[in-house]
Symmetry: C2
Subunit: 223 residues, 2 copies
């Protein structure tokens, strides 16, 4: 998929020409789609940014839809591979969840452009046609976390009366929302997640795993 490596100067943007045409197209498409939305991004602009002719796009991808989907599937697939390493039933629950949370937030920042696309899609603001497929791809990764939580719950790793779906949604929501609002949050001294995403992810994990409570037994010892 990326075996063609010819030397080459940088094209527009910071993109190196060393990546294969297909890879460059995916990068350029992510940029254009996230900047202008699906409809607003033109094949011509994507081709221009990638430094190839328009028709080259249709050699690599069936259609504009297919290109859009490929961009999203690329990032989702990469994250799925991360999940294989992180969601390990044999490891400590707290550690696994912390690793998950850190990996997820890192993934959002590393793939900020595509992440914005996916989040827009989840908000229902995407191009109606591809919506279904995008959701399926994302739902796959979501389901992975849900099943992991269900499995450790079966082993007594977490409370029995928590819904794995609700717990999974909570963990992902905080990351997704904080990522979306990272610019505003930068103005809050304690919430600048852009500065240190890992620390934020760790704090969230601690909160979700241990809860706000001082503990079941310390219920009535306050002022």
């Amino acid at each position: 998929m990326d075996q063609v490596v010819s030397a080459g100067a940088a094209t527009e943007d910071g993109m190196t020409a060393s990546a294969s045409g297909r890879e460059r197209l995916l990068t350029a498409a992510a940029e254009e789609f996230s900047r202008h939305g699906y409809a607003g991004a033109s094949i011509a602009a994507i081709a221009g940014r990638a430094g190839v002719g328009k028709s080259t796009i249709f050699h690599h991808f069936e259609s504009k839809d297919a290109l859009y989907l490929a961009v999203i599937e690329g990032a989702a697939g990469e994250f799925a591979r991360t999940l294989d390493q992180v969601l390990d039933l044999d490891r400590d629950v707290h550690d696994s969840l912390e690793q998950f949370q850190v990996a997820h937030l890192r993934h959002l920042f590393r793939n900020a452009k595509v992440a914005s696309l996916v989040l827009r899609e989840l908000r229902g603001e995407g191009p109606g046609e591809t919506a279904g497929k995008v959701r399926d791809v994302v739902a796959g990764n979501f389901q992975r976390l849900v099943e992991y939580l269900a499995a450790i719950r079966g082993r007594g790793g977490i409370r029995e009366d928590v819904d794995p779906q609700v717990a999974a949604l909570t963990m992902l929501s905080v990351n997704a929302f904080a990522f979306q609002c990272r610019d505003v949050l930068r103005e809050f001294p304690g919430l600048d997640i852009s500065g240190d995403p890992d620390q934020f992810a760790t704090a969230i994990t601690d909160l979700v795993v241990r809860g706000l409570n001082v503990g079941p037994e310390a219920e009535g010892d306050k002022a």
Copy 2:
């Protein structure tokens, strides 16, 4: 907000003509702004939807900016009044937080149009000019929750090593994100928050307050 009740037929949409011109303009503006964004919403369209002349808008509001801000401040102010009732230091912590979470999610659904505007603003996608003021308004309500959490932490109501800002952000994030994605979530049997927002808010509160853990003492007593 709905005390003016004079007889009157419905204008376009489902809007009743019973509200004052100013109120009708705010409703119409919320609709148009959330539908087409700040730039895309025209004064003419807003006036038309409210059933008034264009010049009436500038009688009630200084400018398009001011109208936009008024829409947002209206909803934020209403929520601030709810906070007065909900964030009561004399009540049980879990109950207060649950009431907060329920009230917040209800507020998002009841003011869905304006909420979408505010969320867009927090993502940094709004009209640059008003961004600062919108953030201030929202930050005010956010700060209220943070200070409440800090206060009960001072009394030993919650763990000392949780950051009130992080906890507040977590609670709000889940609601905001779930609200944003309510259409997709409808496809998940256990996550249809539109169907029963209160139940969802309750589940989230339980998770945040008690955590996933089986408890400090019950660490190893399962199958």
